[in-house]
Every structure is written in C-alpha cells, then in structure tokens.
C-alpha cells in the first residue's frame, strides 16, 4: 500500500512534511491537503522531459508521463487527452476577442470530459497500491470516467452521486457495469460520506484517498495548451471551477514548463468561472478572502455544484496572486453561453462550458481582458450529457412536420427565417 519513488512524493503544503507515496490525501498533522512534489533537479538531469522527447511521444497525455506521478513500470493503456486547441474566431468576433482559443475537452477520450485525465493518473496508482475496487464521489463526469476506465482495466467500481444528477450522466455510468449509489443529498453530502467509507472499506476513491495523484492529471491540460500554442504560454486562462483543483493545476503545469526551460517565463493571469447558484470561490475572489463561505448549491450547472470546494481557498488565493479574477453567471446566461459556443464554433459543451463561455464574454465586456491578448478558454465537458438544460429552447422543431413537397419546404423555411417576427403566429381568432 505504499511505494517509494525518486522523482515525486506526497507533501503537505502547509507544514512541509513528506509522506512518500501512499493512498493519503490530508496531512495527519495539520489536516491540509497533500500534493505531489517533484524533484525537478532529478527530472532535469535525467533529460526525459524535453520538447523533443515529448514530440516523439504518443498523441495522448502519456507523452508527459515524466512529469506525472506514474509508478515505474506502468504501461499506459488508455489514450487519454491531447484534445484540440482551436482558434475561436467566431466566438471572438462576438465578444471582442482577437486572439481567443478553446481547449476542447468536450471530446476527451474515453468519456468526453477532462475528468478522463485525472482518472487515468489516479487509477495507475490505485493499481500500484493494490486496490481492486475503485470509486469516487461525483457530480457526473467523474462517475462516467471512473466507470469506463475501471471497466477497461478490470477493476470494480463503486460510485456515489447526488440523486438528482442528469439522467444522461447516470446512464453513462451504469452502462459500464459500475455499482452506482445515488445519495439523497448534494455533492458535499456525497463527498463527506465517501471520506467515511474510505476509512472503513478498502476502496481506492480517486478524489478522496487518491486525490493528490488524481489532481496531478489536470496538469496535462496545461502542458497541452503550452505545446499546442507552439511552446508558448497564453496571457490568460479562463477555467470553470467546481472543487477548485483544475485551475491551480494548469498553473502548476505552466510553472513546471518554465522551471524546466520548455517555455519562456511570462505572467499568465487566471480567471475562474462559476454559476451564481454555486459560487463560493468567485465570491471569495471578489471579496479578497483567504477562505470560502460554503453555499447550498442551486444551479443547473450540476458539474460545478460543489458548495464547499476542497481546493477553494487555494484557488481563490492563486487567482488573485496572478492578477486574475472570477465571475459567476446565472442559469439563463449559461444556457446562452452553451448556444453561443455551439453557434460560433461548432462545439457543443455541457452546462459548465456554458458557464465558462458566458464568464469569458463578461470578462471581455468588463475590460478585464483586452481584445489582443492570447486567451485560452477551457471547455471541460460535452453537451450531449446535459441536453435537459436546453429543453424547451428548440420547441419549434417539434411544432409540425411538413409534407414531402417543395412548396411546404419553401413555406417552412420562410417561416423559420422570420420566426422572430411571426413565424408561428398565434392562431387567428375566428370571426
């Protein structure tokens, strides 16, 4: 249940104590979250993490394995990540951004969200630690990814979710044969229960006792952004926030690339996005707090609905230290954000991506980000999983079917094209 490794180990951020490698997520002394600390000197001397070596690697996250907590001898099996970074000219034009990019994890392999990155790193360690059952507390995407990757690796999966998750995310977990436990409560209740279960059962919970390893997987999004920009860092990153981990890990990735000489050092500002119905981190950033006030989530952006985010205080502090900012948007705005990204870029994202898109638009409108700066928007999940958010937004599709006649088509198209005016008028009153 533990292993030693020359290049990385668990370390407490607060008191500095080190713990080797074992399934442990909080410091037993000061209770702070543990993180993976690397010996960058050794990595530099080994010369494994260079642009050339990375370019020669596979087109997935394992090209960055030298800077991931992957046990020696681990043979990567699932080709996760290396998702497209696309220039977003259409969206940019709408919101006044000349140099905008979308990092599109809506098409991450295998389960269409950035969670595939973290799960693959966590499960590599779960296997090393000897767990035969893995699991997670999840708002949906993580559940899908743990279920799928556990199936592929021949591990059993026990997954806990809030009872009211989107049906697609429930189905996308069950289909892989995972044991799914729906909890009558919100994510914070589910997560607390998982910490108690981890005490009693020999389960490898990817975001509980394996959390430090899991969180490192998020760094791959940062490595990819830098590599896909031609080994350059952007000026700004806009990132959705649930637990508050991803945004910090992208920064950690950038800092490692700087330290190892793969990119030039430059200031990068980080911007966080939340839904107003669950916005403890953006509230903390706006108020300049070094803590967060927990909230009871009330938003359709369920994948971001964590009212008491574990990495919230650290994320808030980091955002402010880079000169960034955080904003939150209403459910109405986030649905408009989903539509805007789809209409301008052909990318269908889930509710969290609607939040990130709408917050990005607002940051430009506020002048916090100027039009010429290079800005990367992190889209982390796929719209096919949250289609219920768009229910009733396209009702005209169902209004009527037309006969297979050209005249009907002509009439129908004419009606659609002027539908804002009188496409589907109320039936005229008789008489």
């Amino acid at each position: 249940m533990e292993y030693s490794c020359q290049t990385y180990e668990l370390k407490c951020n607060e008191c500095g104590r080190r713990f080797g490698n074992r399934p442990l997520s909080g410091c037993p002394d000061c209770l702070a979250p543990l993180e993976i600390a690397y010996d960058l000197d050794i990595i530099r001397k080994e010369g494994k993490f260079t642009r050339a070596n990375i370019a020669a690697g596979p087109f997935n996250i394992w090209r960055y394995a030298a800077l991931l907590p992957i046990p020696e001898g681990f043979q990567p099996d699932i080709p996760v990540g290396f998702t497209p970074l696309v220039r977003a000219r259409g969206l940019g034009k709408r919101i006044g951004a000349d140099n905008l990019y979308v990092k599109n994890d809506a098409v991450c392999f295998p389960t269409l969200s950035f969670k595939d990155r973290v799960v693959s790193v966590a499960l590599a360690n779960a296997q090393k630690f000897g767990f035969t059952t893995v699991g997670c507390s999840s708002t949906g995407n993580l559940a899908n990814s743990v279920a799928a990757q556990a199936a592929r690796l021949g591990l059993k999966a026990t997954i806990l979710i809030p009872a009211d998750l989107e049906p697609a995310k429930i189905l996308n977990t069950l289909v892989y044969g995972a044991r799914l436990v729906r909890i009558d409560g919100n994510y914070d209740h589910v997560n607390r229960l998982c910490t108690l279960i981890a005490d009693e059962y020999d389960y490898g919970f990817v975001n509980v006792n394996l959390r430090p390893y899991y969180a490192e997987g998020s760094k791959t999004q940062g490595y990819e952004i830098a590599e896909q920009l031609g080994w350059k860092l952007p000026d700004n990153v806009v990132c959705p926030m649930a637990g508050g981990s991803l945004i910090r890990k992208i920064r950690k990735a950038f800092n490692e690339l700087i330290a190892l000489g793969l990119v030039e050092d430059k200031p990068v500002r980080f911007f966080g996005a939340q839904a107003t119905g669950c916005s403890p981190i953006s509230q903390s950033v706006r108020n300049g707090w070094d803590y967060i006030e927990p909230q009871r989530p009330n938003t359709i952006a369920r994948s971001l609905a964590i009212g008491n985010p574990a990495d919230g205080p650290a994320a808030s502090k980091m955002i402010r230290s880079t000169g960034g900012w955080a904003e939150d948007v209403s459910d109405v705005e986030l649905v408009a954000g989903i539509q805007e990204l789809a209409e301008t870029e052909g990318i269908f994202t889930e509710t969290a991506g609607g939040v990130t898109t709408a917050v990005t638009a607002r940051l430009y409108a506020q002048g916090r980000i100027s039009g010429d700066e290079t800005t990367v928007v992190c889209i982390t999940g796929n719209g096919l999983k949250t289609t219920d958010a768009l229910a009733h937004h396209y009702d005209h599709i169902d209004v009527r079917a037309i006969r297979p006649r050209l005249v009907d088509f002509v009439d129908y198209i004419a009606a659609l094209d002027c539908q804002d005016v009188d496409a589907f008028p109320e039936p005229a009153l008789v008489g």
Binding site: G26, C30, L31, A32, T195, L196, V208, P294
Partner: protein
C-alpha cells in the same frame, strides 16, 4: 441533554480508539472547551497555533454544515449528532 460526537479514523489516535464521544456542551465553543479538557491531543490537532479551529475542519450537525445553522451561535439539541471531519480526508488508517 447530551449530544453525540462522531470522529473519523484520522482522529481516533487522540481518543484512545473511541470513534464516538458524548458531551453536554450547549454549543460549539462549549464543545471545543470540552474537548480541550478531556482530549487535549485531539484539541491540538483540530486547532491551530492561535487556538482557532483549523481551516480544514468541517463540523456537521445531523448532516448539515454548522455554518448553515448559525455556527458558534447554534444551540445543540438533545440527541444531535455532531461530526468533526477534515475537509480532505481518507486513507489515514495505514499511516504509521
């Protein structure tokens, strides 16, 4: 009147293996004083150098975060289950 205190495995090394304690404390500050007196090692663990509860401790009363109930001002009811739990936990059982 008594309340039940439930502790995660991470803390039982300070309570002689007990996972459940009982207390007559009327509110959270009184409960902390109670712990100071009866389990000083646990008290040191859950409080920082300035004597305040550590940032990484969450306290729940019957499944509800005490901060939603009024925090220090919440008056414990007879039979309340009070849980002290680190915000990041799990896996400490095997730590030597």
């Amino acid at each position: 009147m008594a309340i039940k205190i439930i502790l995660p495995t991470a803390f039982v090394r300070h309570t002689d293996g007990q996972k459940q304690l009982s207390s007559d404390a009327a509110n959270l500050p009184a409960l902390i004083l109670d712990i100071d007196k009866n389990f000083p090692a646990l008290s040191t663990q859950i409080k920082d150098e300035s004597g305040k509860l550590r940032r990484f401790i969450n306290i729940y009363v019957n499944d509800e975060d005490i901060r939603f109930l009024g925090g220090d001002t919440y008056v414990f009811q007879d039979g309340d289950e009070v849980m002290l739990i680190p915000s990041i936990a799990g896996g400490t059982a095997r730590l030597s």
